[in-house]
Structure formats: C-alpha cells, structure tokens
C-alpha cells in the first residue's frame, strides 16, 4: 500500500493518462483499483453502489488527469480525494447511513493504523498521527470515523450521544488543533 504511495510510476502513468494513453490508464486502474475501492466501500456500505461510484471515479480520473500537479501531493492522494468526494456526495445524497451499518466499536487508530506495524509509512502520516494522538480519544475517534466512514454530524451525534451542535463544535476545535499541530 505505501509502496504504491512511494512509487514514481504512478506519476508517470498519470502524466501519460493526461495525454489520453489508454494503456497507461489500464495499468493505473489495475494498480490502484483496490485502494480506491477500499476508500469508497468504507463510506458507501452497499457494494453495488460502491462499484458504480468506482466506475465514475475512474472516468473522472481519465478526464481530469491533466489537472494533477506533482507538487501537490502524491498521485494516490489526488485520486483518493476524487474518490472520497464522489463517495461523500453519494452518501449525503442518499438516506443517512444506518447506524447499524457502522461497527460497534471503531477505533481506527488501533484497527487500521498500527504504529508498530512493519509497513513503511510516510513522514506525513507519522506527523498526522502524532497530531491526532494529541486529541482526546473520543474526539480523535470522531475525526477518524468521519474520514474513514463518511459519518455525518447526525450519525456521530447519535453514536456519541451528544447534540449535533456539540459534535460540530468538537469537530471545529479538533480540526483547528490539527492545523496548528501540523504547521508547528
């Protein structure tokens, strides 16, 4: 996974896709489909809808490849942003995600990001995790649940038994704290 992030081949592939290189697009799809599907399917629980959105995302990547700027993050981050935004549009447009669809206990910091894991991780992720680690546990969980699962304020309010305005305030404070921490 992080090998994908690091590999320069994706930059090369995306540059070729921008010139309407169909073979490069096919290779790009094969290398990144599981990553993008992982992102989309976590937000859109229904696999058929996730599959539909995945297709739309790759059409968009084909059309927008020339917008990718090397200095502004890795190709996978750029593609992931497109995927997340499409999935979020879809999940907000549809009925709210039923809470039963979310796991009872979700501590992504433990489940998904194993700091002791042998997988190589980028300096950026290490820095972000360090800053997330400075948030209170519940507030960190809220940020991660929103990012990974596309949880709405309402869903978060129900899950954490707090009013929606409280969740909003917490989100704002947490995000500002992250911003400060990352820029220091």
């Amino acid at each position: 996974m992080s090998t994908i992030t690091q590999t320069p081949d994706l930059v090369d592939l995306l540059t070729r896709v921008a010139t309407r290189d169909r073979a490069a697009f096919e290779t790009l799809y094969k290398l990144t489909q599981a990553k993008l599907f992982g992102i989309i399917a976590r937000i859109l629980v229904r696999r058929d809808i996730a599959g539909e959105v995945l297709q739309e995302v790759y059409v968009r990547i084909w059309e927008k490849a020339s917008d990718y700027q090397r200095g502004k993050g890795s190709p996978i981050a750029w593609m992931a942003t497109i995927a997340r935004n499409r999935a979020l549009d879809e999940v907000r447009r549809a009925k709210p995600v039923a809470l039963e669809d979310m796991p009872d206990s979700f501590e992504p910091a433990a489940e998904e990001v194993d700091p002791l894991g042998s997988r190589e991780r980028s300096e950026q992720l290490v820095a972000l995790m360090k800053c997330l680690g400075q948030l209170e546990a519940e507030k960190r969980q809220i940020v991660l649940l929103a990012y990974y699962r596309g949880a709405s304020r309402e869903a978060l309010a129900q899950r954490f038994s707090r009013p929606v305005p409280t969740i909003k305030t917490w989100l704002h404070r947490s995000l500002l704290q992250l911003k400060d921490c990352l820029s220091s």
């Binding site: 992982g38 993050g73 447009r93 009925k95 980028s122 304020r153 995000l175």
Partner: protein, 239 residues
C-alpha cells in the same frame, strides 16, 4: 490565500466530509468561483490525505475495467453536450429505482447516435419527489416534480407557520453556481409560478432543494438571506 474563519471551518469540514447535503452542495458551488475557498479546501484535503495510506485495500467484487473503458468510448462519441448529462443521470437514477433502466437501450442509442435526450427521456422516470426536512424525523415540505411538464408542487407536511416572514424555495446545483430562487411559498404553502422550466432535466433531478426563511414576500436581493431551514433531494417515484 485567506478566507474568513467561518469559511476555513467549512473548508475543513468539506474535506473531512461532515457537511450535510445542503451545505456540501453550497460549498461545492462556491468553490468553483472562489479561488481562496478552493485553495483552503485543497489545503485541508492535503492535511488529511496521509490517512489514505492507512485505509486497507479491498478488491472490487468484479472487474470494472471493461465497463469503465466503454464509458470512455461513450464520452468520446457523444457530441451533444446533453448526451453525457443524460447518460450520467440515467446511471444515477438506475441506482435508486426499483426495476432497472434498459441499459441496452442506452447503449444502442449511443451506437446509433440518435437523439439521446428524447430516446432516453422515454425510459427515465418522469416524476420525482423530495422531502425537505431539518432532520430525518421532521419532514416539513414535500416537493413533487414532473419532468415532462416541469411542474413543481409544494405540499406542507409540518412546516411551522411564519408571521411576517416567508418561506422561499431554492434550487442548488454545482452547474448553477449560486442558489436560484424557485419562488416564495405562499400562505397555502404552494408556489404560484415555480421557475423550473428554465433548468436542464439533469440539473433539476440532481439538485438540492432548500427552503430559507425570508422577509415577507421573499428575499429582497435574490439571494438566500440565511442558511436553509429545510433541505432535500429528489428521488424518482417509480413512474
């Protein structure tokens, strides 16, 4: 590049994904024309992007590549600008409809290059309904749209009466830029002359509908005076 503290938070929540449907649509529309806001969103997307590394891969249930490639072919062939809109719309609607839209009909229409808009209109749902609400358990207005006639009917469900104020209905869509007024909802909670005919069917069905509270008689400057009190999206009724 600087934005107000309020916009900075909207940008952050847009990137995180926690804005609700109406807010998300409004920010997405503003980002198209406001470079500073767009920059603030992009900065937040970058701050959070490293988390993507920690998301495990998941193999899709099927190989979508052939389907994606044929969509690219369809795009290249579609000369009418409306064609891709209709194709997008058809795909999107098919997800929410009971009973699939004849996809083979769409493919055939693409291949023959015949008038897509008209051909597919016949296969698409014509009637849509949106429940405008503040929260899932508090529906306030029901909006019914007929695509053929471009009729729009507003029905009150449980909207509290306003004294000295008016409810105004807005259509919000990226393609429109700013929210556009569809008219003031009168005492009987209907709109006399909804201004729906001007909009493309794809915009109409994809848009977010929002109600604001305005001074009596409607917004004085054609822009929403405040945040929407009720929002909703259209879904096909199955006709």
């Amino acid at each position: 590049m600087s934005v107000s503290p309020e916009d900075e938070m909207s940008a952050a929540e847009f990137a995180l994904g926690t804005l609700d449907d109406g807010e998300r649509a409004a920010i997405a529309a503003r980002r198209q024309r406001e470079a500073d806001l767009d920059g603030a969103i992009a900065a937040w997307e970058q701050r959070l992007a490293p988390l993507v590394e920690s998301i495990p891969e998941l193999t899709p249930p099927q190989d979508y590549l052939p389907a994606i490639l044929s969509r690219l072919d369809g795009r290249l062939r579609g000369t009418d600008d409306g064609a891709s809109n209709v194709a997008d719309l058809t795909r999107r609607l098919s997800r929410w409809r009971v009973g699939a839209i004849a996809a083979s009909g769409l493919a055939a229409a693409l291949a023959l290059g015949i008038g897509l808009r008209e051909t597919n209109r016949a296969q698409m749902p014509h009637e849509f309904v949106a429940v405008l609400q503040k929260s899932a358990d508090a529906p306030a207005f029901m909006v019914t749209v007929n695509l053929d006639t471009r009729d729009l009917i507003v029905r009150p469900v449980a909207a509290p009466a306003q004294t000295g104020k008016s409810y105004e209905l807005w259509i919000i869509n990226d393609k429109l830029g700013a929210p556009r007024s569809l008219g003031v909802i009168d005492q009987a909670h209907t709109i006399a002359n909804p201004k729906l005919a001007a909009y493309d069917p794809a915009v109409v069905t994809d848009a977010t509908y929002a109600v604001t509270v305005e001074p009596e008689g409607g917004s004085p400057d054609g822009k929403p005076s405040g945040a929407p009190v009720f929002v909703g999206k259209l879904i096909p009724t199955g006709r």
